[in-house]
């Protein structure tokens, strides 16, 4: 591209209707041309209602991309779930699940594993390019079928998820921007894509296996991983993250929910551009990852700690700093025990952990998730 500014395209996608008939829509921004030869990327934000910082990051990405040398299609979708982001309850946004059904908005994407084997059978001898094109089309057809041909209809969340997924399946790389409750920055990264984790400016990475549990990242990389496995089983070998299997999806946790900070978002955007530069979506060598110690753990070792009692919690552990065995993560105030019991209860674990996030409120029931921690962790080295 020349030194004139890049021009994006904006469309508006209807995703739902409320009881009053009000139509909710999602803005879709894209840089797309036939001339692009680099990998394509899909970036969305705010699927969970309270996790709003990603919208500001998309704002900053759009600002920064104006002056970038773009090599691959880029699609950006802020406000991915307006049903969730508009749902206040009291002062906060009740945005993690459908307020009617309780279903987590990020567990409603679609993948039907049963289509993989027949595809590999049919296209066992196809060219790489055909495999890529036909399989992408299959994924799109599957979603189209779900959206358009179902006499019993779709849930509110499926309708939103499938429309977003239709956009995401058109890209090679997928970034789903989330946040934790009160949280450090962290990244969900497929195990096979570990090398990419060091190109984000994010100090904590959870390496996830290839299991589909309904989330956007899984819904977009699992099909390709299953396909690669199916070919391998038939003796045709591909490598994940390479060639036509250059497919990566990440859930990017940008810090704490219920907050917008445009200055931090500018930093967040630069970290994402560093990854896009690494993958060849843009040609902008000034975007490079920051130096930092990056920790990782496997998903099975990413542990939630539930409160052993009801009470009010003074959270003590700092995020991102290894905490020694026996050191308190929190102390729980129980004024009802003052005078005739134990008014302060300290919560500790018997092995070192790396605290990543904690609950959003001091007040907890017995069994409320207090912290999430890396319980076995290691340093990730950039290559």
């Amino acid at each position: 591209m020349s030194n004139s500014k890049n021009i994006f395209n904006k469309t508006v996608m209807p995703v739902g209707e409320m009881a009053s008939g009000a139509k909710l829509t999602v803005p879709v921004y894209s840089y797309k041309t036939d001339g692009f030869v680099g990998p394509s990327v899909y970036i969305q934000a705010n699927m969970h209602g309270a996790e709003v910082q990603g919208n500001a990051v998309i704002f900053q990405l759009l600002e920064l991309l104006k002056d970038c040398n773009i090599k691959g299609n880029i699609t950006l979708v802020p406000y991915a779930n307006p049903v969730a982001c508009n749902h206040k309850n009291g002062e906060y946004t009740l945005g993690r699940f459908d307020p009617i059904t309780g279903v987590n908005w990020n567990r409603m994407y679609h993948f039907d594993e049963s289509v993989i084997a027949p595809f590999a059978d049919k296209f066992i001898d196809a060219t790489d390019g055909d495999i890529q094109q036909q399989f992408k089309q299959l994924m799109l057809n599957e979603i189209e079928q779900k959206l358009e041909h179902n006499i019993f209809g779709l849930t509110t969340g499926q309708r939103i998820a499938y429309q977003l997924q239709r956009l995401a399946h058109q890209a090679d790389l997928v970034l789903d921007l989330h946040t934790g409750p009160i949280s450090s920055k962290h990244l969900y990264c497929p195990e096979y894509a570990q090398a990419s984790a060091s190109y984000f400016d994010i100090p904590h990475t959870i390496l996830i296996p290839n299991d589909f549990d309904g989330a956007m990242d899984e819904a977009t990389f699992c099909p390709w991983w299953y396909l690669q496995q199916a070919y391998e089983a038939k003796g045709r070998t591909f490598e994940m993250g390479q060639g036509i299997f250059n497919k990566e999806s990440f859930t990017v946790e940008l810090g704490s929910q219920e907050q917008i900070d445009l200055d931090v978002a500018h930093q967040d955007a630069m970290g994402i551009l560093s990854y896009l530069q690494y993958k060849g979506v843009i040609d902008a060598p000034n975007y490079q990852p920051q130096e930092m110690t990056r920790y990782a753990c496997y998903l099975k070792d990413y542990k939630a700690l539930y409160s052993p009692m009801g009470g009010m919690v003074d959270y003590l552990a700092n995020f991102g700093e290894p905490l020694a065995a026996g050191e308190p993560l929190a102390r729980i105030l129980r004024m009802d025990n003052y005078g005739d019991g134990d008014p302060l209860h300290y919560v500790a674990l018997d092995h070192p952990v790396l605290p990543i996030l904690h609950f959003a409120s001091a007040s907890v029931n017995q069994g409320t998730e207090l912290y999430k921690v890396f319980s076995k962790f290691f340093e990730l080295n950039a290559e």
Copy 2:
């Protein structure tokens, strides 16, 4: 027992603590003696907060059981989930899921299929009595382990569910009393226990397969079904519903939520006693099932119909009456379309259905569950 009144035992089980330190407890009523030789039954109510009619049914059961000839242990647990039943939001009870996490309270019971095969291996030649006793003990140990030995703790719902399950595993028959939103009476019944369905005074039965999805009924009958299958695979044959596999679990849907009616509860209790009489838990031949047309369908044919649009719904279909193809289930009012669009949208299906329940409110989003219907149904004949 003599003609003096039966005496029950009452205990109180702590199930949770709130932020203020308030302890929530559940009353547990039982008729239990060493002399009982009939099958035992466990009955609970109100696991979902708004589904309160079962508490009134337990009231009436306790009243009626005073004068029954009891043959097997009976345990009754009303208010099974006080966290849920105390959670008002606006005028209604937000009781289907944990208000913090969105997780359905009736999807948190435990069953780990991996313990089955080793058990069958170890006890392949054991006596029937030993198998029954040892497997029951294994189920109880599993729950005990979950409750007592977990350094990361339990969720609020797991703690409640596991404690209830510990009681339920001690019984042969399990009845979990629920309701629908606005609903006819209906019954979830394991496929193998179909013959029992006609002993309840309930006109609609959903026959469920042997898959575990976290609910109480599944958590208590699936282990035995898997065990029977494991023995069968090894050449030792038992029949489900017979002998040591005389294990049945039902989710009994008593009608609509948010309502208590003690007179209706008296009828409901008599229907349950009819089933207990049939199974030999009591010897009270005056409790016999009512004559009625009983319809059934398989779980795969029990369909939710989601609203094709946001709007306000005038529900038209009557519960329990077969509805012809093309006949409207509902009409949706869209005043925003009045004058320049279609203010009334009729919702119909292309095949006959039996409407079982509908949504609790006229106001729906696009994608809200409007109705649940038997889409392929047949008559169930009492044997």
Copy 3:
């Protein structure tokens, strides 16, 4: 008008924006011509989110008005508060108050009593027509001022209320369509307009004094009543409900919330047309009030009964039937007391009452409003 169908005008009024930027609008239907000489009427519905039946009534009014001989301006506003009617929480609509602040949506209308005395001073000798026109303009200016000139802004509810009030102030008669929770039909009627109550097909009337507490009905009739009083104090006498003071406002409670029934709405609409016929807004003598016993009580005798305990309520009293002293309104189930306490508590009053509505759920806290009753009531005679 001739026998051709009447043509209404439809506009769309923006009333709010959500976090995603989504704009919420309200449809406004009007029959308005310069030639109309009868009194004008403003009818709105659904200011409280769950109270939806009024939308169906407006649908039926629009259908019926097509063929009426219309004499005065008619404005109809369904979905008056889309913020509220779109706010689901669990299966129900959390619609009585702003979910962020708790403020009742029907307590945010505006009236500043301090403008009355200066107006009466200034226009003490004005013609009747001038008084009417100038005072209506003053009311509109007051609202305009609130909407447009406030550097600190307006609350969400004020913005909605003031825009509706701007429409309502242009009419002589105001009907605000509401519902109760689970409720009989009843009517809030200014004491001075008692004669009009018998022209609605509503068996229960609450006669309200001339105090402003923020509701739509009060906001539209109180100013005129205060003005009449101010003139009277200065020796110029007008009669409320006559001539330029032919101003009446009613809150019409159409039955239970969370329900749409288009057939019942047709009946409701005919009752409203009966009132409009009586007042001369239409000339359609076929719309006449039904014969029925109409009871009334004064607002001070319209009593809420709060639950003396937490528990689960079996509501026993029938709406609209006088209940003798000592007869139970409800019985409260307390299973936690079964076996060692009193599991059933009966709630009664020491004097006869007329039950009008009860709480929407069986589950109540200590102090939840159980019933509202006419505690001193009398028959209302149509004149």
Copy 4:
């Protein structure tokens, strides 16, 4: 008192019952002896559910008072409203208002102005001591009457409020510990008690007039202020804050809600002890106010700023630092406008303000309260 540790008394006060029958209680701690001659103080915390830091402050006060020389009765009530503090909705506590009715928990205290004049008539010539004792008794009787003699019952919130008020009326000084949403520390102080404001370690004071609007502070000082006025009108002069009218009530806003910090609570407790030392409740001269610039404004100048649009807010203004006219308080992100509108809207005022608190979430509707600010403020000088 000697150098042995002080011993407090602990009782438990029942304040409500939930649907399951669960009883909610409040712990009450008191240092009380007949020998105390200093003024008495009542301190409560957590009337609003999410405002929990006051509980930690009471913990630290109890710890510090063990070693204090106590001169007057001290009563401390943490967890004042367990109904509110146990009400989670999503991850947060929906604690500002009754979740069923929307009524603010801190607007339900009682004061009936009509009892003042008759009392002053009757006791016009009574001794100071008699006036004090009789009027205190009258206040207590009024509450007792409300609690015990009402055939229609009390709301959930009234029952809680009246029981707390019964304790508070027994004290001369009342501290109601609250917090803002995201907030600086600030103090609501009666205008006549301005001199006391500088003895708290709180930099911002709102001076409130003597109007009763249902809050605890008003409910306890307004009666005395009205009484003093009534005597003055009859020619008998007392000074507020002196002698038998040494009655002061404060709402102490401790910072942000949803947080417990025991270390900050220790500081907060020392600031409260500084006030108690000043008033002679304790004799502990080491507790002295910190040096700081203290700003004040009158309640009429304490302004809420409502969002002019829906959107996502990046809050820019720092608390407690005067902000010049025209400087932005916040910028509102509107991604739906990106590309074809204005994606960033800056919110500013036309005069200098002192920002005190802001909304708890980035996501706002049009009309959500963004900030509260001192719009005319001045320095408060300690005397």
